[in-house]
C-alpha cells in the first residue's frame, strides 16, 4: 500500500495532468479547460511557495556550519544567516511593499544591484582567458568555430567595420544565415526530445524528477 501511495499514485497523477493539458489544447471541452486552468494556477502557487525552498535549504546547511564551528567557514555562515534574518525582518515589516522601508530600499539599490551585476559580469574575465588558453585551431571543427566566432565578434564591435569594410557583411552572414542550420537543429532535436520525454512520463518510465534516485 505504501508503495502505491509513494510511487504509483504519483505517476498516475502526473499522467492525468499531462493528458488534461493536451486535451485542453486540441479539443474545446469547457469542463476540461476549466480544470486545466485551475491546475495551471495551482502550479503557479506551488512554484511561488517553492521559491523559499532554496532559502530554507541553504540556511539549514549554514546553520549546521555554525553549530559545528566548521573551521574557516562558520563565521561566513553566521554572516550569511545574519544578513538573511536582517533583510527578512526589514521586508516583513511591510510585506505588501517592502521597498517602503528606506533601509531595505538602500540595501536593494546599492548592494543587491551592484553585487548582482558584479557576479553576472565576472565571467567576462574568464571568457577572455578562455579565449587565450582554450581556443586553439587544433582541427577543422575548432577552426570553423574560431572563424565564425571571430567574424561575429568583429561584426558586433563597431571597430570591425573600421578594420575592413566587409567584416560586418561577413559577420552578419554568420549571424543571420551561418548559424541558422545549427540553431534550427537544436530546436528540432530538443522538440523531439521533449515529446519523447513527455511520452515516457505518461507511461511512468521517466522518474528522475521525482527525486527517486536521491532517496526516500
Amino acid at each position: 500500500m505504501a508503495e502505491v501511495v509513494r510511487r504509483e499514485l504519483v505517476y498516475i497523477l502526473t499522467a492525468i495532468v499531462v493528458i488534461i493539458m493536451i486535451v485542453d489544447f486540441f479539443f474545446a471541452v469547457p469542463a476540461v479547460s476549466a480544470v486545466a486552468g485551475e491546475l495551471r494556477t495551482w502550479a503557479t502557487i506551488i512554484s511561488t511557495m517553492a521559491l523559499a525552498l532554496g532559502a530554507v535549504n541553504i540556511i539549514r546547511v549554514h546553520s549546521r556550519n555554525v553549530r559545528r564551528r566548521t573551521p574557516g567557514v562558520w563565521y561566513h555562515s553566521a554572516w550569511l544567516i545574519f544578513i538573511f534574518a536582517f533583510v527578512m525582518l526589514l521586508g516583513m515589516l511591510d510585506i505588501n511593499n517592502p521597498a517602503s522601508n528606506p533601509i531595505y530600499k538602500w540595501i536593494f539599490d546599492y548592494s543587491y544591484v551592484s553585487l548582482g551585476q558584479t557576479w553576472y559580469a565576472i565571467t567576462g574575465f574568464y571568457i577572455a582567458s578562455a579565449a587565450y588558453r582554450a581556443f586553439r585551431a587544433r582541427n577543422v571543427d575548432a577552426a570553423l568555430l574560431l572563424i565564425a566566432g571571430i567574424f561575429v565578434m568583429l561584426m558586433n564591435a563597431p571597430i570591425g567595420e573600421v578594420i575592413w569594410v566587409q567584416i560586418p557583411v561577413i559577420g552578419r552572414w554568420f549571424n543571420d544565415v551561418g548559424q541558422v542550420p545549427a540553431m534550427r537543429t537544436f530546436l528540432i532535436v530538443a522538440a523531439f526530445g521533449l515529446l519523447a520525454f513527455g511520452f515516457r512520463t505518461l507511461l511512468g518510465r521517466e522518474r528522475g524528477f521525482y527525486g527517486e534516485v536521491a532517496g526516500g
Partner: protein
C-alpha cells in the same frame, strides 16, 4: 541621474563599489576573506529577497482568494507546503505530489506547444525557397540552410553509428554545428563584455572620472 549628493546616496555608491572590488579581488588577485564576505553577503541577501517575494506573492495569489471565499485554494496551498518535505529524507515522497502537478503541467504544455513552432514551422522555413527574382546569395543561403539543417540533424541520429554512408554527412553536420556554435560564442563574448563594461563604467563614475 547625476552624482549623488545625499549622505545615503554617497555612502551607497561607495558601498556598492567596495562590494564590487571585494568580488573582483578574487580574479584580479587571489582568493581572500573580503571576497568570501561579499559572496556570503550576496547569497544571504538574495535568499531573503526570494523568500520575501515568495511570501508576498503567495499572499496575493493564494491567501487573499482563500480568505475571499475560494475555500478550495487550500489544496494548492497544502501542495505548496508539501514541497518542503523534499528536505526530509524519510518523508521526501510527499513532495512528489506537488512535483507531479508542476512537471505534468509543464510537460503537457510543452508537448502541445512545441510541435508547431519548433518542428513544423522550422521545416516550412527550411524548405520555403526565396521569392521569384531573388539574388543569387538568397539562393545560396537557401541551399546552405536546407542542406545544413539536414546534415546537422543527421549528426544527432545517435541510433546508428556514424560510419559507412553516415560518416561524411555526419562529419559535415558537425562542421555546420561548429559554425553555429562559433557564432553563438561570438555573441556570448559580446554579452560578457557588455556586462563587464558596465562595471568598469561604474568604477569610473564613482571615482568621478565620467558622469553618472
Amino acid at each position: 541621474m547625476g552624482y549623488p549628493t545625499t549622505i545615503d546616496g554617497i555612502l551607497g555608491i561607495w558601498t556598492a563599489l567596495a562590494l564590487m572590488l571585494f568580488v573582483y579581488s578574487y580574479p584580479l588577485f587571489k582568493e581572500n576573506q573580503l571576497f568570501r564576505f561579499a559572496e556570503h553577503f550576496f547569497i544571504g541577501l538574495s535568499l531573503a529577497i526570494a523568500a520575501i517575494i515568495s511570501i508576498q506573492t503567495t499572499i496575493r495569489l493564494a491567501i487573499t482568494p482563500l480568505m475571499a471565499g475560494k475555500i478550495y485554494y487550500i489544496i494548492p496551498i497544502l501542495l505548496g507546503f508539501m514541497m518542503y518535505f523534499i528536505l526530509h529524507r524519510d518523508y521526501r515522497w510527499i513532495s512528489r505530489y506537488p512535483i507531479a502537478i508542476l512537471v505534468g503541467s509543464s510537460i503537457g504544455l510543452g508537448m502541445r506547444g512545441t510541435i508547431i513552432p519548433n518542428i513544423l514551422s522550422q521545416i516550412i522555413a527550411t524548405i520555403t525557397p526565396p521569392k521569384a527574382g531573388a539574388v543569387a546569395l538568397s539562393w545560396f543561403n537557401f541551399v546552405y540552410i536546407g542542406i545544413g539543417t539536414i546534415l546537422a540533424v543527421m549528426y544527432f541520429l545517435l541510433t546508428f553509428e556514424h560510419r559507412g554512408p553516415l560518416l561524411y554527412p555526419t562529419r559535415l553536420g558537425r562542421w555546420i554545428i561548429m559554425i553555429g556554435l562559433g557564432a553563438y560564442y561570438g555573441n556570448t563574448v559580446l554579452f560578457r563584455m557588455a556586462m563587464l563594461s558596465g562595471r568598469a563604467q561604474f568604477l569610473l563614475q564613482v571615482l568621478g572620472l565620467v558622469p553618472f
